[in-house]
């Protein structure tokens, strides 16, 4: 079949540059959060159409995954959503463990450590989302404050894994290392230190009148549109739907943990506007702190470190699952993070096909729909509220 889509697109741009103005935003524009290029067809200050162009950060993850073993691919998964690497490798590892049928044999302490570090990473990711969103809107201070606090998390995760951002900490069947001595105490100290900081943030940014005027009633994403476009995570919850895979799929030790799912309520404007999405992230940090505390309670009491505990004891010698297809989905920091494995050779450690269902990719795809007819300044607010990471969009 002859594909005329590219010609049609070129015609559209040529026609638009006569009647309207075509404006390129990115790939170096700071408010596109990475190397995203948005082609805007504008009529004065009004955005008539947004055409996102991506792929500037394409690293052939799926091709790499087809030539490396399951264990060797874990460092590559860290580089998908590089702001929440732990969540990525957790999803990948859980998928492989379920295919191998060893997901029930993982020691409880290992599972709790995994959830603990994932939630710490989720907080770090949300802190960046909130901080850079403040910058987009014009508030510089929250960014600096939140980066200072994020640095504590980075330091702790570096202490545990040896690396600041790309950890390679969660392995199939266990962990790279046990937590270092004193980590639990330090993490508890952080939780107690950080709680009051969130109250400060709320005073500084959440209830800031300028911030509210810039974000409330802007970029409203109705719930049915969100579902149809495959939005997930804070995007979908901001539109008022209680959909959190940590509760729906009850994976890992989340069923034993008590936490709430914050949703957008339209407190400042309409349900599903930029402020709601922002607020969901703020509330999620609160919940992640609660999850951290509960994990620490267990890790310091009944699952205490023992001298003979080895987090690598259950590592399988060979990662050769039965030939099958498996789709694992997890709640990453940005939304539903899925990995689809197609395994055909019983003696091979390499998947025949591996596909990433990246939450940012789907969340970003709704942008042309909700950015129709907005002002250019509001487009910045909408782009910031989506909170995508280009490492994951482009893979």
């Amino acid at each position: 079949m002859i594909n005329t889509a590219l010609e049609n697109y070129n015609h559209k741009i040529a026609a638009a540059s006569v009647e309207d103005m075509v404006l390129n935003m990115g790939p170096q524009h700071p408010s596109t959060h990475g190397v995203l290029r948005l082609e805007l067809i504008t009529d004065g200050e009004i955005v008539k159409e947004v055409i996102p162009h991506m792929g500037y950060l394409h690293r052939c993850f799926e091709k790499h995954a087809e030539s490396l073993t399951y264990q060797q691919t874990i460092p590559f998964t860290d580089r998908l959503d590089y702001l929440a690497s732990m969540n990525n490798s957790h999803a990948w590892v859980m998928g492989v463990e379920r295919m191998l049928g060893i997901d029930k044999d993982i020691p409880k302490r290992v599972e709790y450590i995994r959830v603990l570090v994932c939630e710490m990473n989720r907080i770090a990711s949300h802190l960046i989302a909130i901080g850079t969103y403040g910058i987009d809107i014009g508030a510089f201070t929250p960014f600096l404050w939140l980066f200072k606090d994020r640095e504590h998390i980075m330091g702790m995760l570096e202490w545990a894994s040896g690396s600041r951002m790309l950890y390679n900490y969660i392995w199939v069947g266990g962990l790279f290392y046990d937590l270092p001595v004193g980590f639990e105490e330090r993490a508890r100290e952080f939780v107690n230190y950080f709680r009051p900081k969130m109250a400060e943030l709320n005073q500084l940014l959440t209830e800031n009148q300028i911030f509210i005027s810039r974000t409330a009633n802007v970029g409203v994403l109705p719930r049915d549109v969100a579902i149809n476009y495959g939005c997930s995570g804070p995007m979908l919850r901001g539109s008022g739907l209680k959909w959190d895979l940590r509760r729906i799929d009850n994976y890992s030790v989340y069923p034993e943990i008590d936490f709430e799912i914050p949703v957008g309520k339209g407190e400042m404007g309409t349900v599903g506007d930029c402020w709601d999405r922002y607020k969901v992230r703020v509330d999620e940090i609160e919940q992640s702190l609660r999850i951290m505390e509960q994990c620490l309670d267990r890790l310091q009491n009944e699952l205490k470190r023992t001298t003979d505990f080895d987090p690598r004891a259950k590592l399988p010698r060979k990662l050769t699952p039965k030939p099958q297809d498996y789709y694992i989905r997890c709640e990453g920091a940005k939304g539903e993070l899925g990995f689809y494995f197609m395994h055909t050779d019983a003696r091979s450690e390499i998947p025949f096909r591996a596909k990433v269902r990246a939450p940012s990719f789907n969340n970003l795809s709704v942008l042309p729909e909700i950015a129709k007819g907005v002002m250019i300044a509001d487009l910045i607010a909408i782009v910031g509220s989506i909170d995508f990471v280009l490492g994951e969009v482009d893979r």
């Binding site: 079949m1 495959g230 689809y340 789907n362």
Partner: protein, 165 residues
């Protein structure tokens, strides 16, 4: 609704030939659907009040290898009201010589499929009939070949510049 119920529902609505087979060996069973009916099946599964598969989680284009000579697409559907998951598969024989394999687009049913089908076209080289804007998405528009095909050879030149590493 169980897997068997969904199968029954589809055969009652579309006739027995809509389901070409099933894969039940692994942890997640999959239905093999007749390739031409996929859009109708998705629409029915989305709108039927007993299933409401309103969320397309993932769409994967697959090249089954040179010997197999098959291309396929895998759909992972999720139902938010009923908390269900379902895997649908379609596949078709194609010998790689005469253009790209052609499948029906599900974009009218799920807008998620828009970018996912563009990605499948970009990387695996599957043409989706009825897609509104089937351009390459991750690679440059003038890229030659489809990198996720099993017979893909790494390009030596890009726009006359040698790629040496």
């Amino acid at each position: 609704m169980s897997f068997e119920d969904i199968k029954l529902l589809l055969t009652n609505t579309f006739g027995a030939d809509v389901i070409e087979g099933e894969e039940t060996g692994g942890l997640q069973p999959a239905l093999l659907i007749a390739p031409d009916r996929i859009a109708d099946v998705c629409l029915e599964l989305r709108n039927n009040s007993k299933t409401y598969f309103d969320f397309l989680s993932c769409l994967t284009g697959v090249d089954y290898g040179v010997e197999a000579g098959r291309f396929g697409v895998v759909y992972h559907l999720a139902s938010i009201p009923y908390k269900l998951q379902l895997t649908l598969k379609i596949s078709k024989e194609h010998d790689r010589t005469n253009g790209e394999p052609v499948f029906k687009s599900v974009t009218p049913v799920y807008r998620t499929a828009d970018w996912h089908e563009r990605e499948a076209y970009d990387l695996v080289g599957i043409f989706f009939e009825g897609h509104p804007d089937l351009r390459r998405i991750l690679l440059p528009d003038d890229w030659e070949g489809y990198p996720l095909r099993k017979d893909y050879k790494t390009a030596e030149y890009y726009k006359g510049i040698k790629i040496d590493f």
